[in-house]
């Protein structure tokens, strides 16, 4: 095995933070591909430019995604990375593993690939970094036979992902892990066989802390919330008061100013609370949501290209999420149908909603307009009215004439 001189990236082995270069070297010790990846990277560092080519279409039989094709422009110089495809393995919900399962994953990967991984990729997959085309089918056979499947890529449903939720967190409002598993299983076909206009991501967080960053990077962002009062344990409030300035740290930071604390009792004017979670996270022993649990469905977030980055918009202010999640599954199918009918190629759903208007979208999926969906109403009076709209306004007016009472 060729020994590369890597003075530049060697500098990245110094310092307290764990070094990816050290990792690459570890793998390189007995893996030709990893070894060439090291030399290849040093070359990038010395010339300040990358050498990977656009990915070609590679994959496994019957699937349209799950593998990112990658070739080097300088494959003759670094034959171990001439092909260097990544395989996306669909992670278990919440990234929970047993050592046994993980070791199995490693063993297979060492056998066929570079021994390099990303645990995990930004979407959530367990990413196996770098293998050759001919290894793809064997890899798939090995993993799938052991109960592991590929994740998403291309114009398909992407691997859903979620926060740890009920696995460990006191704040979750629904079973993020269970829902993610259920949806992934339900939509296997959409995940493996790209038929969408572009990618579609689903991420689920159990509360407004949004520990899986759903609101910023999922076409469908599912954010847990509740309908009910925050219950207060005044004894625990007293305990917190010993170590924290409750007025400065909690009451004055409440965005709706619905809290008060007189040094003795903490009060919350619950109808005014917008459930932002600040107070609860800072006084977790004292405060607890009560009442109905569920989630807010938001839609459309994505990275900047083409129309600028988007955060997800509230579509369904509240939905209960309980197995078998029929309502949500049906809704997702309706969403995809509308998207499919209206999108140009490479248009994410947020872009299409922006193009066609929220009304067209909401009507198609059967959701009523609600002020919870908006931050503020429209400003410019450039409104569309259907004939039916105007008729219904006129009908209302006719009724008002009869009753003598206006309904605005």
């Amino acid at each position: 095995m060729k020994k590369y001189n890597t003075p530049l990236i060697d500098q990245l082995e110094k310092g307290p933070w764990p070094s990816f270069v050290t990792e690459m070297k570890k793998a390189a010790k007995n893996n030709e591909m990893a070894n060439d990846a090291l030399g290849h990277l040093e070359k990038c560092y010395s010339t300040k430019v990358g050498y990977w080519k656009h990915g070609g279409i590679v994959g496994v039989l019957g699937y349209g995604g799950g593998v990112i094709g990658r070739y080097s422009e300088i494959g003759n110089e670094f034959p171990g990375v001439a092909h260097f495809h990544t395989v996306r393995i669909n992670q278990p919900s919440g990234f929970f593993y047993t050592s046994k399962a993980l070791k199995e994953i490693c063993d297979i990967w060492d056998k066929y690939g570079s021994g390099l991984t990303n645990v995990h990729g930004s979407t959530g997959d367990l990413v196996l970094l770098g293998t050759k085309t001919e290894a793809l089918e064997p890899i798939f056979a090995e993993y799938s036979s052991r109960g592991w499947d590929l994740g998403g890529s291309g114009s398909a449903l992407r691997t859903p992902s979620c926060c740890v939720g009920p696995g460990r967190c006191e704040w979750t409002n629904y079973d993020t892990l269970g829902l993610t598993y259920a949806l992934t299983q339900e939509f296997q076909d959409e995940l493996h066989r790209p038929t969408f206009s572009y990618k579609f991501k689903i991420k689920s967080s159990g509360c407004a802390c949004d520990c899986v960053a759903a609101l910023a990077r999922a076409d469908l962002s599912i954010i847990g919330t509740w309908k009910g009062d925050i219950k207060i344990d005044q004894n625990e409030v007293k305990n917190y008061a010993k170590t924290m300035d409750i007025n400065a740290e909690v009451v004055s930071m409440c965005p709706t100013q619905c809290m008060s604390y007189d040094g003795k009792e903490l009060k919350i004017d619950n109808p005014e609370c917008n459930r932002c979670m600040h107070c609860i996270t800072r006084m977790t022993k004292a405060l607890k949501p009560s009442g109905e649990r569920g989630a807010t469905l938001c839609m459309g977030s994505k990275a900047p290209i083409v129309v600028g980055s988007l955060l997800s918009w509230v579509i369904v202010p509240f939905i209960k999420l309980e197995p078998p999640y029929t309502e949500l599954k049906d809704l997702i199918r309706k969403i995809w149908d509308w998207w499919d009918e209206n999108a140009k190629p490479r248009e994410r759903i947020g872009e299409v909603i922006e193009m066609k208007g929220m009304r067209s979208f909401l009507e198609a999926i059967g959701v009523e307009p609600q002020p919870q969906q908006i931050r503020e109403p429209r400003k410019d009076p450039f409104m569309f009215y259907t004939d039916a709209d105007v008729e219904s306004y006129k009908a209302k007016e006719a009724e008002e004439k009869k009753t003598g009472k206006y309904r605005f």
Binding site: E23, G50, A213, I223, T281, V306
Partner: protein, 356 residues
Amino acid sequence: MALPQRKTDVGPPNFEQFLPPVIKKNYGKWKYHEVITPGSMVHVAESGDKLWTVRVASPRLLATDTIREHCDIAEKYCDGHLRYTTRNNVEFLVSDEKKLEPLKKELKDRGFKMGGIGAGITNVVHTQGWVHCHGACTDASGLVKAMMDELFEYFESKRLPNKVRLAVACCVNMCGAVHCSDIAVVAVHTKVPTVKHEDFKNMCELPTVIGSCPTRAISPDPANKSVKINAEKCMYCGNCFTVCPPISIKDPERDGVAIVVGGKINSLRSNPKFSKLVIPYISNEPPRWPKAVAAIKHIVEVYALHARKHERIGEWIERIGWEKFFKLTNIDFTFQCIDDFTFMRDTMRTASTFKW
């Protein structure tokens, strides 16, 4: 050896089989948690059961041997149970309090770094960079390593007013969560791409290429059976290059990185926010990007000095005003900071109420 029989559409394994017994028992019935150190916390269930978590830094790019090392440790202290976080740290899940300190000791001895919990800096969400992506105009892993070496104390021990979420993206596709991070680096091109006309018609679809351009800079070039790019309109996003290989945009001397700040994802206190551009260009300086790293550290320090407890960077800036942020950080305000994309209007100030 014969390959086993492949299966399709099995989906991921059911996570339940990977949960430690204490989680299975107390699933969805947690009562509260306490942060013990920046690297460890305990969750207490309504039943009184406890689960200790020890969080360990990961470079995310892991050799299988390192994963095996994680496994070995998990076997020794956690009955084989571990998880990774949404920001790519490793978490050892301890059900037996007696094993907590020994675990920490062994982690320390082996050189693993514990931290990332609470009001500090945790792992950096990032992308492939030169390690694997064709589009990269910088290396993500290298930048992360250089940043975190410099900011390491905020991971391991030193606290900040609130969490500071960092990210790195190696091109404006932003596979990291750059667009809503407290501080992030995004790599940028600064030159108009060139088109290999002779390959265009075989390798690219005209409507896709034209539609790929956010600023409508691309128009057909019928003479060449290709496209032409209007240099006045192109802002080097590279999306045409993404959809069409004969278009090339990389330039070692001109590619660089920009720094954005003030983003946030959760809805605590204030709404989620996009990150905003503050430093438009720093030359690519592998292997350690000293200026980019210094800039980030500088911003963290100014924030630490001025923000109120629990304020995220974006919340702090919105309270004091962006003009004040530029003043306090002494960062040059450039034309690039002024939005000139479609939604510019909402970024301009429409009142004489600002600070001098």
